[in-house]
Protein backbone atom coordinates (compact mmCIF):
# COMPACT_ATOMS: atom_id res chain seq x y z
CA UNK A 1 0.00 0.00 0.00
CA UNK A 2 2.70 2.52 1.00
CA UNK A 3 4.69 1.44 -2.00
CA UNK A 4 1.79 2.18 -4.30
CA UNK A 5 1.35 5.62 -2.80
CA UNK A 6 5.07 6.25 -3.19
CA UNK A 7 4.99 5.30 -6.84
CA UNK A 8 1.95 7.44 -7.46
CA UNK A 9 3.59 10.37 -5.72
CA UNK A 10 6.77 9.91 -7.71
CA UNK A 11 4.80 9.89 -10.92
CA UNK A 12 2.90 13.04 -10.05
CA UNK A 13 6.08 14.86 -8.98
CA UNK A 14 8.05 13.69 -11.96
CA UNK A 15 5.35 14.68 -14.37
CA UNK A 16 5.06 18.10 -12.81
CA UNK A 17 8.82 18.60 -12.64
CA UNK A 18 9.50 17.51 -16.18
CA UNK A 19 6.97 19.96 -17.56
CA UNK A 20 5.01 17.16 -19.10
CA UNK A 21 1.71 18.63 -18.04
CA UNK A 22 1.92 21.57 -20.38
CA UNK A 23 -0.69 20.66 -22.91
CA UNK A 24 -3.54 22.52 -21.19
CA UNK A 25 -3.75 25.14 -23.92
CA UNK A 26 -5.36 22.76 -26.38
CA UNK A 27 -9.03 23.48 -26.61
CA UNK A 28 -11.01 20.77 -24.88
CA UNK A 29 -14.61 21.33 -25.82
CA UNK A 30 -15.67 17.77 -25.23
CA UNK A 31 -13.17 16.66 -22.65
CA UNK A 32 -15.22 14.56 -20.31
CA UNK A 33 -14.35 15.20 -16.68
CA UNK A 34 -15.48 11.77 -15.56
CA UNK A 35 -13.52 8.75 -16.61
CA UNK A 36 -14.81 6.31 -19.20
CA UNK A 37 -17.88 4.61 -17.81
CA UNK A 38 -16.85 0.98 -17.79
CA UNK A 39 -13.59 1.72 -16.02
CA UNK A 40 -15.17 3.77 -13.26
CA UNK A 41 -15.47 1.96 -9.94
CA UNK A 42 -19.05 1.31 -8.96
CA UNK A 43 -19.88 3.47 -5.94
CA UNK A 44 -23.14 1.77 -5.05
CA UNK A 45 -21.67 -1.69 -4.96
CA UNK A 46 -23.81 -3.42 -2.39
CA UNK A 47 -27.10 -1.64 -2.66
CA UNK A 48 -29.16 -0.59 0.39
CA UNK A 49 -29.42 -3.01 3.29
CA UNK A 50 -26.17 -4.86 2.83
CA UNK A 51 -24.17 -1.75 3.61
CA UNK A 52 -25.43 -1.50 7.20
CA UNK A 53 -23.00 -4.05 8.57
CA UNK A 54 -19.31 -3.26 8.95
CA UNK A 55 -18.45 -5.97 6.47
CA UNK A 56 -20.45 -7.12 3.47
CA UNK A 57 -22.68 -10.10 4.10
CA UNK A 58 -22.29 -13.35 2.22
CA UNK A 59 -25.44 -12.63 0.26
CA UNK A 60 -24.13 -9.22 -0.80
CA UNK A 61 -20.91 -10.81 -1.99
CA UNK A 62 -22.93 -13.37 -3.91
CA UNK A 63 -25.04 -10.59 -5.44
CA UNK A 64 -21.94 -8.69 -6.40
CA UNK A 65 -20.43 -11.78 -7.98
CA UNK A 66 -23.61 -12.26 -10.01
CA UNK A 67 -23.27 -8.75 -11.41
CA UNK A 68 -19.59 -9.03 -12.26
CA UNK A 69 -20.53 -10.39 -15.66
CA UNK A 70 -22.15 -7.29 -17.13
CA UNK A 71 -21.69 -7.82 -20.86
CA UNK A 72 -24.28 -9.06 -23.36
CA UNK A 73 -22.79 -10.21 -26.68
CA UNK A 74 -24.38 -10.16 -30.14
CA UNK A 75 -24.06 -11.80 -33.54
CA UNK A 76 -22.94 -9.87 -36.63
CA UNK A 77 -25.42 -7.12 -37.61
CA UNK A 78 -27.89 -8.46 -35.03
CA UNK A 79 -29.54 -7.14 -31.89
CA UNK A 80 -31.03 -10.46 -30.75
CA UNK A 81 -30.10 -11.44 -27.20
CA UNK A 82 -28.72 -14.98 -26.82
CA UNK A 83 -29.67 -17.36 -23.99
CA UNK A 84 -26.39 -16.51 -22.31
CA UNK A 85 -27.13 -12.81 -22.67
CA UNK A 86 -30.58 -13.32 -21.17
CA UNK A 87 -28.96 -14.76 -18.03
CA UNK A 88 -26.90 -11.57 -17.63
CA UNK A 89 -30.02 -9.48 -18.23
CA UNK A 90 -31.96 -11.60 -15.71
CA UNK A 91 -29.41 -11.08 -12.94
CA UNK A 92 -29.43 -7.31 -13.51
CA UNK A 93 -33.23 -7.29 -13.62
CA UNK A 94 -33.31 -8.91 -10.17
CA UNK A 95 -30.75 -6.48 -8.81
CA UNK A 96 -32.49 -3.40 -10.24
CA UNK A 97 -35.93 -4.55 -9.08
CA UNK A 98 -34.60 -5.16 -5.56
CA UNK A 99 -32.81 -1.79 -5.58
CA UNK A 100 -35.22 0.72 -7.15
CA UNK A 101 -32.88 3.63 -6.41
CA UNK A 102 -30.03 2.14 -8.41
CA UNK A 103 -29.45 2.98 -12.05
CA UNK A 104 -27.52 1.52 -14.93
CA UNK A 105 -26.33 2.83 -18.26
CA UNK A 106 -26.63 0.50 -21.23
CA UNK A 107 -23.64 1.12 -23.50
CA UNK A 108 -24.09 -0.27 -26.99
CA UNK A 109 -21.09 -1.23 -29.13
CA UNK A 110 -20.42 -2.59 -32.62
CA UNK A 111 -17.45 -4.27 -34.25
CA UNK A 112 -15.33 -2.18 -36.63
CA UNK A 113 -16.88 -3.45 -39.86
CA UNK A 114 -19.23 -1.15 -41.73
CA UNK A 115 -19.51 2.61 -41.46
CA UNK A 116 -19.03 4.45 -38.19
CA UNK A 117 -22.34 6.27 -37.90
CA UNK A 118 -24.34 3.23 -39.00
CA UNK A 119 -22.54 1.36 -36.24
CA UNK A 120 -23.67 4.01 -33.76
CA UNK A 121 -27.21 3.16 -34.86
CA UNK A 122 -26.50 -0.54 -34.47
CA UNK A 123 -25.05 0.00 -30.97
CA UNK A 124 -28.18 1.87 -29.96
CA UNK A 125 -30.40 -0.87 -31.37
CA UNK A 126 -28.53 -3.40 -29.18
CA UNK A 127 -28.80 -1.19 -26.11
CA UNK A 128 -32.55 -0.85 -26.77
CA UNK A 129 -32.84 -4.59 -27.10
CA UNK A 130 -31.35 -4.99 -23.61
CA UNK A 131 -33.53 -2.14 -22.36
CA UNK A 132 -36.70 -3.89 -23.59
CA UNK A 133 -35.64 -7.14 -21.93
CA UNK A 134 -35.03 -5.35 -18.61
CA UNK A 135 -38.33 -3.44 -18.82
CA UNK A 136 -40.22 -6.66 -19.54
CA UNK A 137 -38.81 -8.06 -16.30
CA UNK A 138 -40.21 -5.16 -14.29
CA UNK A 139 -37.25 -2.78 -14.14
CA UNK A 140 -38.29 0.89 -14.01
CA UNK A 141 -37.66 3.05 -17.09
CA UNK A 142 -36.06 5.73 -14.91
CA UNK A 143 -33.41 3.24 -13.78
CA UNK A 144 -32.08 2.94 -17.34
CA UNK A 145 -30.17 5.24 -19.66
CA UNK A 146 -28.77 4.41 -23.07
CA UNK A 147 -25.61 5.43 -24.87
CA UNK A 148 -24.22 4.09 -28.13
CA UNK A 149 -20.51 4.25 -28.84
CA UNK A 150 -20.71 2.40 -32.17
CA UNK A 151 -17.27 1.02 -33.00
CA UNK A 152 -15.38 3.82 -31.23
CA UNK A 153 -14.57 1.92 -28.02
CA UNK A 154 -13.66 -1.67 -28.82
CA UNK A 155 -13.25 -4.04 -25.86
CA UNK A 156 -10.28 -5.75 -27.50
CA UNK A 157 -7.95 -4.77 -30.36
CA UNK A 158 -7.61 -6.93 -33.44
CA UNK A 159 -9.22 -7.33 -36.83
CA UNK A 160 -10.51 -10.92 -36.80
CA UNK A 161 -13.78 -12.63 -35.91
CA UNK A 162 -12.54 -13.46 -32.39
CA UNK A 163 -12.00 -9.74 -31.71
CA UNK A 164 -15.22 -8.73 -33.45
CA UNK A 165 -17.25 -11.16 -31.30
CA UNK A 166 -15.86 -9.53 -28.14
CA UNK A 167 -16.64 -6.05 -29.45
CA UNK A 168 -20.29 -6.57 -30.47
CA UNK A 169 -21.78 -6.00 -27.05
CA UNK A 170 -23.84 -4.06 -24.58
CA UNK A 171 -22.09 -3.22 -21.32
CA UNK A 172 -24.37 -2.69 -18.34
CA UNK A 173 -22.68 0.02 -16.29
CA UNK A 174 -23.86 0.77 -12.79
CA UNK A 175 -24.05 4.54 -12.19
Amino acid sequence: MSKNVLIATMVVLAVAASGCASSKKKSTPTAAPESYGSSAPATDVYGGAAQIGSSPSDSAIAAERALSNNVVYFEYDSSDISAEGLEVVGRFASYLSANPASRVRLEGHADERGSREYNVGLGERRAKSVESALLSKGVGQDQLSLLSYGEERPAVPGHDEAAYAQNRRVQIIRQ
Binding site: T30, S35, L122, L146
Partner: protein, 427 residues
Protein backbone atom coordinates in the same frame (compact mmCIF):
# COMPACT_ATOMS: atom_id res chain seq x y z
CA UNK B 1 7.29 -1.02 -13.47
CA UNK B 2 6.97 2.46 -12.00
CA UNK B 3 9.53 3.65 -14.52
CA UNK B 4 7.52 2.25 -17.41
CA UNK B 5 4.40 3.91 -16.09
CA UNK B 6 6.22 7.19 -15.77
CA UNK B 7 7.45 7.07 -19.35
CA UNK B 8 4.00 6.23 -20.56
CA UNK B 9 2.44 9.10 -18.66
CA UNK B 10 5.00 11.53 -19.97
CA UNK B 11 4.32 10.42 -23.48
CA UNK B 12 0.59 10.79 -23.16
CA UNK B 13 0.66 14.13 -21.41
CA UNK B 14 3.56 15.73 -23.20
CA UNK B 15 2.83 14.74 -26.82
CA UNK B 16 3.26 18.33 -27.88
CA UNK B 17 2.01 18.75 -31.41
CA UNK B 18 0.37 16.37 -33.80
CA UNK B 19 2.94 14.83 -36.14
CA UNK B 20 2.53 15.59 -39.83
CA UNK B 21 1.08 12.79 -41.93
CA UNK B 22 3.66 10.93 -43.98
CA UNK B 23 2.63 10.64 -47.64
CA UNK B 24 3.52 7.90 -50.12
CA UNK B 25 2.40 7.73 -53.75
CA UNK B 26 1.88 4.72 -56.02
CA UNK B 27 0.77 4.52 -59.64
CA UNK B 28 0.28 7.51 -61.89
CA UNK B 29 -0.78 8.59 -65.35
CA UNK B 30 0.52 6.44 -68.20
CA UNK B 31 2.05 9.61 -69.64
CA UNK B 32 2.50 12.19 -66.88
CA UNK B 33 3.36 15.71 -68.00
CA UNK B 34 7.10 16.52 -67.66
CA UNK B 35 7.78 19.69 -65.68
CA UNK B 36 10.83 21.27 -64.08
CA UNK B 37 10.68 23.45 -60.97
CA UNK B 38 13.94 25.24 -60.29
CA UNK B 39 14.59 26.19 -56.68
CA UNK B 40 13.38 29.78 -56.23
CA UNK B 41 15.91 32.51 -55.39
CA UNK B 42 15.76 32.38 -51.61
CA UNK B 43 15.21 34.99 -48.94
CA UNK B 44 17.13 34.56 -45.67
CA UNK B 45 13.94 34.95 -43.59
CA UNK B 46 12.15 32.10 -45.39
CA UNK B 47 13.44 28.62 -44.57
CA UNK B 48 10.83 26.81 -46.69
CA UNK B 49 11.86 25.43 -50.10
CA UNK B 50 8.73 26.74 -51.84
CA UNK B 51 9.47 25.19 -55.25
CA UNK B 52 9.86 21.76 -53.58
CA UNK B 53 6.44 22.01 -51.93
CA UNK B 54 4.91 22.94 -55.31
CA UNK B 55 6.70 20.00 -56.93
CA UNK B 56 5.47 17.56 -54.26
CA UNK B 57 1.86 18.71 -54.77
CA UNK B 58 2.05 18.27 -58.55
CA UNK B 59 3.83 14.91 -58.46
CA UNK B 60 1.46 13.43 -55.84
CA UNK B 61 -1.47 14.18 -58.16
CA UNK B 62 -0.01 11.55 -60.50
CA UNK B 63 -0.44 13.91 -63.45
CA UNK B 64 3.12 15.29 -63.46
CA UNK B 65 6.66 13.97 -63.65
CA UNK B 66 9.27 16.36 -62.23
CA UNK B 67 12.83 16.65 -63.51
CA UNK B 68 15.26 15.96 -60.64
CA UNK B 69 17.24 19.03 -59.65
CA UNK B 70 20.48 17.16 -60.30
CA UNK B 71 19.50 16.77 -63.97
CA UNK B 72 18.77 20.44 -64.55
CA UNK B 73 20.99 22.12 -67.17
CA UNK B 74 20.90 25.49 -65.38
CA UNK B 75 19.38 27.26 -62.35
CA UNK B 76 17.65 30.39 -63.66
CA UNK B 77 15.59 32.53 -61.27
CA UNK B 78 14.34 35.12 -63.80
CA UNK B 79 13.11 34.72 -67.41
CA UNK B 80 16.10 36.59 -68.92
CA UNK B 81 18.51 33.95 -67.63
CA UNK B 82 16.93 31.02 -69.45
CA UNK B 83 18.60 29.08 -72.26
CA UNK B 84 15.47 27.52 -73.75
CA UNK B 85 17.28 25.07 -76.00
CA UNK B 86 19.02 23.51 -73.00
CA UNK B 87 15.62 22.71 -71.39
CA UNK B 88 14.20 21.31 -74.58
CA UNK B 89 17.32 19.16 -74.68
CA UNK B 90 16.31 17.45 -71.43
CA UNK B 91 12.69 17.03 -72.56
CA UNK B 92 11.18 19.87 -70.60
CA UNK B 93 8.53 22.11 -72.15
CA UNK B 94 7.09 23.43 -68.91
CA UNK B 95 9.53 25.29 -66.70
CA UNK B 96 8.77 26.98 -63.38
CA UNK B 97 11.17 29.54 -61.91
CA UNK B 98 10.83 32.19 -59.25
CA UNK B 99 12.13 34.38 -56.48
CA UNK B 100 11.20 34.96 -52.86
CA UNK B 101 11.48 38.59 -51.84
CA UNK B 102 10.67 41.11 -49.14
CA UNK B 103 8.06 43.79 -49.74
CA UNK B 104 6.81 46.79 -47.79
CA UNK B 105 4.01 44.73 -46.29
CA UNK B 106 5.84 41.42 -45.79
CA UNK B 107 7.06 38.93 -48.37
CA UNK B 108 6.16 37.79 -51.86
CA UNK B 109 6.84 34.95 -54.25
CA UNK B 110 7.27 35.95 -57.90
CA UNK B 111 6.98 32.94 -60.13
CA UNK B 112 6.74 32.18 -63.85
CA UNK B 113 5.47 29.17 -65.77
CA UNK B 114 7.21 29.23 -69.15
CA UNK B 115 6.79 27.25 -72.32
CA UNK B 116 10.33 26.52 -73.50
CA UNK B 117 9.04 24.99 -76.75
CA UNK B 118 7.42 28.32 -77.55
CA UNK B 119 10.79 29.97 -76.89
CA UNK B 120 9.90 31.09 -73.43
CA UNK B 121 6.37 32.36 -73.90
CA UNK B 122 4.95 33.06 -70.48
CA UNK B 123 1.98 30.88 -69.49
CA UNK B 124 1.74 32.27 -65.95
CA UNK B 125 3.44 35.12 -64.10
CA UNK B 126 2.37 36.10 -60.59
CA UNK B 127 3.48 37.99 -57.51
CA UNK B 128 1.83 36.24 -54.58
CA UNK B 129 1.99 38.03 -51.21
CA UNK B 130 2.64 36.52 -47.76
CA UNK B 131 2.40 38.59 -44.61
CA UNK B 132 4.94 36.42 -42.81
CA UNK B 133 7.34 33.56 -43.67
CA UNK B 134 5.01 30.99 -42.06
CA UNK B 135 2.41 31.71 -44.78
CA UNK B 136 4.80 30.48 -47.48
CA UNK B 137 3.40 26.95 -47.38
CA UNK B 138 -0.03 28.32 -48.33
CA UNK B 139 1.55 30.37 -51.13
CA UNK B 140 3.26 27.21 -52.44
CA UNK B 141 -0.11 25.38 -52.57
CA UNK B 142 -1.64 28.39 -54.40
CA UNK B 143 1.14 28.19 -57.00
CA UNK B 144 0.53 24.44 -57.43
CA UNK B 145 -3.19 25.15 -57.97
CA UNK B 146 -2.44 27.80 -60.62
CA UNK B 147 -0.03 25.53 -62.54
CA UNK B 148 -2.35 22.51 -62.33
CA UNK B 149 -5.33 24.45 -63.66
CA UNK B 150 -3.29 26.17 -66.41
CA UNK B 151 -1.80 22.95 -67.77
CA UNK B 152 -4.70 20.50 -67.20
CA UNK B 153 -7.73 22.76 -67.49
CA UNK B 154 -9.29 21.59 -64.21
CA UNK B 155 -9.10 23.34 -60.82
CA UNK B 156 -6.28 22.36 -58.48
CA UNK B 157 -7.10 21.14 -54.96
CA UNK B 158 -3.78 21.70 -53.18
CA UNK B 159 -4.60 24.87 -51.25
CA UNK B 160 -7.18 23.02 -49.18
CA UNK B 161 -7.33 21.41 -45.75
CA UNK B 162 -8.10 17.95 -44.45
CA UNK B 163 -9.81 17.39 -41.12
CA UNK B 164 -9.39 13.95 -39.57
CA UNK B 165 -9.71 12.10 -36.27
CA UNK B 166 -6.58 10.67 -34.63
CA UNK B 167 -6.96 8.04 -31.89
CA UNK B 168 -4.27 6.78 -29.54
CA UNK B 169 -4.14 4.30 -26.69
CA UNK B 170 -6.64 1.64 -25.71
CA UNK B 171 -9.48 1.14 -23.25
CA UNK B 172 -9.68 3.81 -20.56
CA UNK B 173 -6.37 5.30 -21.81
CA UNK B 174 -7.82 5.97 -25.26
CA UNK B 175 -7.71 9.57 -26.43
CA UNK B 176 -9.14 11.27 -29.50
CA UNK B 177 -8.02 14.36 -31.39
CA UNK B 178 -9.70 16.28 -34.16
CA UNK B 179 -6.91 17.58 -36.40
CA UNK B 180 -6.84 19.98 -39.36
CA UNK B 181 -3.84 19.87 -41.68
CA UNK B 182 -2.91 21.11 -45.14
CA UNK B 183 -4.06 18.75 -47.91
CA UNK B 184 -0.49 17.39 -48.12
CA UNK B 185 -0.64 16.37 -44.44
CA UNK B 186 1.71 19.16 -43.32
CA UNK B 187 1.04 21.90 -40.75
CA UNK B 188 -1.29 19.80 -38.55
CA UNK B 189 -3.24 21.67 -35.89
CA UNK B 190 -5.28 20.10 -33.10
CA UNK B 191 -8.80 21.51 -33.06
CA UNK B 192 -10.30 19.41 -30.25
CA UNK B 193 -9.09 16.70 -27.91
CA UNK B 194 -11.07 14.34 -25.68
CA UNK B 195 -10.91 11.05 -23.82
CA UNK B 196 -14.32 10.31 -25.33
CA UNK B 197 -14.85 9.66 -29.05
CA UNK B 198 -14.72 12.48 -31.57
CA UNK B 199 -16.46 11.66 -34.85
CA UNK B 200 -17.76 12.74 -38.23
CA UNK B 201 -16.11 16.12 -38.98
CA UNK B 202 -17.90 18.16 -41.67
CA UNK B 203 -16.70 21.44 -43.19
CA UNK B 204 -18.90 24.47 -43.65
CA UNK B 205 -18.87 25.46 -47.34
CA UNK B 206 -16.95 28.67 -46.54
CA UNK B 207 -14.36 26.57 -44.68
CA UNK B 208 -14.57 28.69 -41.52
CA UNK B 209 -16.32 26.09 -39.35
CA UNK B 210 -16.23 22.38 -38.56
CA UNK B 211 -19.22 20.46 -37.27
CA UNK B 212 -18.42 17.22 -35.44
CA UNK B 213 -19.74 14.71 -32.90
CA UNK B 214 -18.43 14.44 -29.35
CA UNK B 215 -19.47 12.76 -26.11
CA UNK B 216 -19.87 14.51 -22.80
CA UNK B 217 -21.31 13.28 -19.47
CA UNK B 218 -22.90 10.19 -20.91
CA UNK B 219 -24.39 11.92 -23.95
CA UNK B 220 -23.39 12.57 -27.51
CA UNK B 221 -23.64 16.03 -29.03
CA UNK B 222 -23.06 17.83 -32.31
CA UNK B 223 -20.69 20.76 -31.98
CA UNK B 224 -19.92 23.62 -34.35
CA UNK B 225 -16.35 24.86 -34.02
CA UNK B 226 -15.33 28.23 -35.53
CA UNK B 227 -11.70 27.73 -36.55
CA UNK B 228 -10.52 31.35 -36.46
CA UNK B 229 -11.76 32.03 -32.91
CA UNK B 230 -11.84 28.56 -31.37
CA UNK B 231 -15.44 29.21 -30.33
CA UNK B 232 -17.42 25.99 -29.84
CA UNK B 233 -21.22 25.90 -29.99
CA UNK B 234 -23.18 22.85 -28.88
CA UNK B 235 -25.77 22.69 -31.65
CA UNK B 236 -27.80 19.72 -30.43
CA UNK B 237 -27.54 17.14 -27.65
CA UNK B 238 -30.78 15.20 -27.44
CA UNK B 239 -31.32 11.93 -25.66
CA UNK B 240 -29.97 9.11 -27.83
CA UNK B 241 -27.96 9.57 -31.01
CA UNK B 242 -26.70 12.96 -32.13
CA UNK B 243 -24.67 12.15 -35.22
CA UNK B 244 -23.61 12.51 -38.85
CA UNK B 245 -23.60 16.30 -39.29
CA UNK B 246 -23.50 17.39 -42.94
CA UNK B 247 -23.47 21.01 -44.01
CA UNK B 248 -25.86 22.21 -46.72
CA UNK B 249 -24.15 23.75 -49.78
CA UNK B 250 -25.39 27.25 -48.84
CA UNK B 251 -24.07 26.88 -45.29
CA UNK B 252 -27.39 27.67 -43.62
CA UNK B 253 -28.37 24.16 -42.48
CA UNK B 254 -26.99 20.93 -41.10
CA UNK B 255 -28.48 17.56 -41.88
CA UNK B 256 -28.02 15.28 -38.83
CA UNK B 257 -29.09 11.95 -37.35
CA UNK B 258 -31.16 12.08 -34.15
CA UNK B 259 -32.90 9.22 -32.34
CA UNK B 260 -34.72 11.01 -29.48
CA UNK B 261 -38.17 10.60 -31.06
CA UNK B 262 -37.77 6.85 -31.39
CA UNK B 263 -34.88 5.56 -33.46
CA UNK B 264 -32.30 7.09 -35.82
CA UNK B 265 -33.90 9.39 -38.41
CA UNK B 266 -32.65 12.25 -40.59
CA UNK B 267 -33.33 15.82 -39.48
CA UNK B 268 -32.40 19.20 -40.97
CA UNK B 269 -31.42 21.93 -38.51
CA UNK B 270 -31.34 25.62 -39.46
CA UNK B 271 -28.04 26.80 -37.95
CA UNK B 272 -29.11 30.40 -37.23
CA UNK B 273 -32.51 29.68 -35.65
CA UNK B 274 -31.89 26.08 -34.48
CA UNK B 275 -35.30 25.25 -36.02
CA UNK B 276 -35.57 21.55 -36.74
CA UNK B 277 -37.34 19.59 -39.46
CA UNK B 278 -37.71 15.82 -39.48
CA UNK B 279 -37.02 14.38 -42.92
CA UNK B 280 -37.43 10.61 -42.43
CA UNK B 281 -39.66 8.57 -40.15
CA UNK B 282 -38.96 4.86 -40.27
CA UNK B 283 -38.26 2.13 -37.72
CA UNK B 284 -35.04 1.22 -39.55
CA UNK B 285 -31.75 3.01 -38.96
CA UNK B 286 -31.61 6.15 -41.16
CA UNK B 287 -28.24 7.88 -40.92
CA UNK B 288 -25.23 9.39 -42.74
CA UNK B 289 -27.07 12.10 -44.71
CA UNK B 290 -25.16 14.08 -47.33
CA UNK B 291 -26.40 16.94 -49.56
CA UNK B 292 -26.50 17.06 -53.34
CA UNK B 293 -24.33 19.91 -54.70
CA UNK B 294 -27.44 21.93 -55.64
CA UNK B 295 -28.95 21.45 -52.17
CA UNK B 296 -32.19 19.96 -53.52
CA UNK B 297 -31.86 16.44 -52.11
CA UNK B 298 -29.87 14.22 -49.77
CA UNK B 299 -28.48 10.70 -49.90
CA UNK B 300 -28.37 8.62 -46.73
CA UNK B 301 -27.87 5.10 -45.37
CA UNK B 302 -30.92 3.10 -44.27
CA UNK B 303 -31.51 -0.53 -43.34
CA UNK B 304 -35.28 -0.20 -43.91
CA UNK B 305 -34.93 -2.96 -46.52
CA UNK B 306 -33.19 -5.33 -44.08
CA UNK B 307 -29.59 -4.47 -44.93
CA UNK B 308 -28.02 -1.01 -45.03
CA UNK B 309 -28.39 0.49 -48.52
CA UNK B 310 -28.25 4.00 -49.96
CA UNK B 311 -31.43 6.06 -50.47
CA UNK B 312 -32.11 9.51 -51.87
CA UNK B 313 -34.75 11.92 -50.55
CA UNK B 314 -35.88 15.39 -51.61
CA UNK B 315 -35.02 18.14 -49.11
CA UNK B 316 -38.78 18.75 -49.00
CA UNK B 317 -39.35 15.19 -47.75
CA UNK B 318 -41.45 12.48 -49.39
CA UNK B 319 -40.68 8.88 -50.19
CA UNK B 320 -36.99 7.96 -50.31
CA UNK B 321 -35.78 6.27 -53.48
CA UNK B 322 -33.29 3.40 -53.20
CA UNK B 323 -30.12 4.00 -55.25
CA UNK B 324 -27.93 0.93 -54.57
CA UNK B 325 -28.66 -2.68 -55.47
CA UNK B 326 -25.24 -4.25 -56.07
CA UNK B 327 -23.52 -5.75 -53.02
CA UNK B 328 -24.80 -6.97 -49.67
CA UNK B 329 -24.50 -3.53 -48.13
CA UNK B 330 -23.85 0.02 -49.34
CA UNK B 331 -23.19 2.74 -46.77
CA UNK B 332 -21.96 6.26 -46.07
CA UNK B 333 -22.85 7.89 -49.44
CA UNK B 334 -21.87 11.33 -50.73
CA UNK B 335 -22.20 13.07 -54.09
CA UNK B 336 -19.47 14.01 -56.54
CA UNK B 337 -19.06 17.79 -57.00
CA UNK B 338 -20.88 17.59 -60.37
CA UNK B 339 -23.75 15.60 -58.82
CA UNK B 340 -23.44 12.87 -61.49
CA UNK B 341 -22.23 10.09 -59.18
CA UNK B 342 -22.02 9.05 -55.55
CA UNK B 343 -19.21 7.40 -53.62
CA UNK B 344 -20.13 4.71 -51.07
CA UNK B 345 -18.71 1.95 -48.90
CA UNK B 346 -19.65 -1.27 -50.69
CA UNK B 347 -19.72 -4.51 -48.70
CA UNK B 348 -19.60 -7.80 -50.52
CA UNK B 349 -18.05 -11.15 -49.66
CA UNK B 350 -16.96 -9.81 -46.27
CA UNK B 351 -14.92 -7.01 -47.86
CA UNK B 352 -15.64 -3.32 -47.38
CA UNK B 353 -14.41 -1.34 -50.37
CA UNK B 354 -14.97 2.09 -51.88
CA UNK B 355 -17.43 2.12 -54.78
CA UNK B 356 -18.39 4.77 -57.33
CA UNK B 357 -21.95 4.70 -58.60
CA UNK B 358 -22.94 6.46 -61.81
CA UNK B 359 -26.39 7.87 -61.03
CA UNK B 360 -27.52 7.90 -64.68
CA UNK B 361 -26.76 4.22 -65.33
CA UNK B 362 -26.70 2.83 -61.78
CA UNK B 363 -23.43 1.03 -62.52
CA UNK B 364 -21.00 0.37 -59.68
CA UNK B 365 -17.21 0.60 -60.02
CA UNK B 366 -14.96 -0.51 -57.14
CA UNK B 367 -11.89 1.74 -56.71
CA UNK B 368 -10.21 0.36 -53.57
CA UNK B 369 -9.00 -3.03 -52.34
CA UNK B 370 -10.45 -3.23 -48.83
CA UNK B 371 -10.86 -5.20 -46.69
CA UNK B 372 -11.84 -2.47 -44.24
CA UNK B 373 -12.25 0.79 -46.18
CA UNK B 374 -14.62 3.50 -44.97
CA UNK B 375 -15.55 7.21 -44.86
CA UNK B 376 -15.09 8.01 -48.58
CA UNK B 377 -15.49 11.54 -49.92
CA UNK B 378 -14.61 13.41 -53.12
CA UNK B 379 -11.83 15.96 -52.96
CA UNK B 380 -12.85 19.38 -54.28
CA UNK B 381 -12.75 19.30 -58.08
CA UNK B 382 -13.84 15.68 -58.10
CA UNK B 383 -10.66 14.11 -59.54
CA UNK B 384 -9.71 12.30 -56.32
CA UNK B 385 -11.47 10.35 -53.54
CA UNK B 386 -10.15 10.26 -49.99
CA UNK B 387 -11.07 7.47 -47.54
CA UNK B 388 -9.86 5.63 -44.44
CA UNK B 389 -8.30 2.19 -44.67
CA UNK B 390 -6.57 -0.42 -42.55
CA UNK B 391 -2.80 -0.17 -42.90
CA UNK B 392 -0.40 -3.08 -43.14
CA UNK B 393 0.44 -2.76 -39.45
CA UNK B 394 -3.26 -2.97 -38.56
CA UNK B 395 -3.63 0.71 -37.72
CA UNK B 396 -5.97 3.05 -39.56
CA UNK B 397 -4.57 5.24 -42.31
CA UNK B 398 -5.93 7.69 -44.85
CA UNK B 399 -5.73 6.94 -48.56
CA UNK B 400 -6.56 8.72 -51.78
CA UNK B 401 -7.34 7.28 -55.19
CA UNK B 402 -7.94 9.13 -58.45
CA UNK B 403 -11.42 8.44 -59.86
CA UNK B 404 -9.83 6.51 -62.74
CA UNK B 405 -8.13 4.29 -60.12
CA UNK B 406 -4.61 4.98 -61.41
CA UNK B 407 -3.04 7.13 -58.71
CA UNK B 408 -3.04 6.14 -55.05
CA UNK B 409 -1.55 7.82 -52.00
CA UNK B 410 -1.36 6.83 -48.35
CA UNK B 411 -1.29 9.32 -45.48
CA UNK B 412 -0.19 7.77 -42.22
CA UNK B 413 1.26 8.45 -38.80
CA UNK B 414 2.02 6.46 -35.64
CA UNK B 415 -1.53 6.39 -34.20
CA UNK B 416 -4.83 5.63 -35.93
CA UNK B 417 -6.06 8.29 -38.35
CA UNK B 418 -9.52 8.08 -39.85
CA UNK B 419 -12.68 9.95 -40.87
CA UNK B 420 -11.09 12.35 -43.35
CA UNK B 421 -13.07 15.41 -44.42
CA UNK B 422 -11.63 17.40 -47.32
CA UNK B 423 -12.33 21.12 -47.13
CA UNK B 424 -13.96 22.97 -49.99
CA UNK B 425 -11.88 25.20 -52.25
CA UNK B 426 -12.31 28.81 -51.24
CA UNK B 427 -11.37 31.40 -53.84
Amino acid sequence: MSRKLLLLLCFVIAAPAQAALEVTVTGGDAAPLPIALVQFAPNPDVPLDVAQVVENDLVRSGRFKALPRSSMPERPTSPQQINHASWRGVGIDNLVIGQIGKSATGYYVRFFLLDTAGNGSQLLGYDLPAKSPDQMRTVAHQIADLIYEKLLGIPGYFNTKIAYVAANGFGPARSFQLVVSDADGEAPRIVATSREPLMSPSWSPDRTKLAYVGYERGRSAIYVHTLATGKVQRLVSEKGINGSPSWSPDGSKLAVTLSFENNPDIYVIDVASNARKRLTDHYGIDTEPSWSPDGSKLVFTSDRGGQPQVYEISVGGGDPKRLTFEGKQNLRPSYSPDGQSIVVVNADGGRYRIGLINLATGSLRIVSDGPQDESPQFAPGGAVIIYATQGRAGGAELATVSVDGRVRTRLRQAGDVREPAWSPIVR
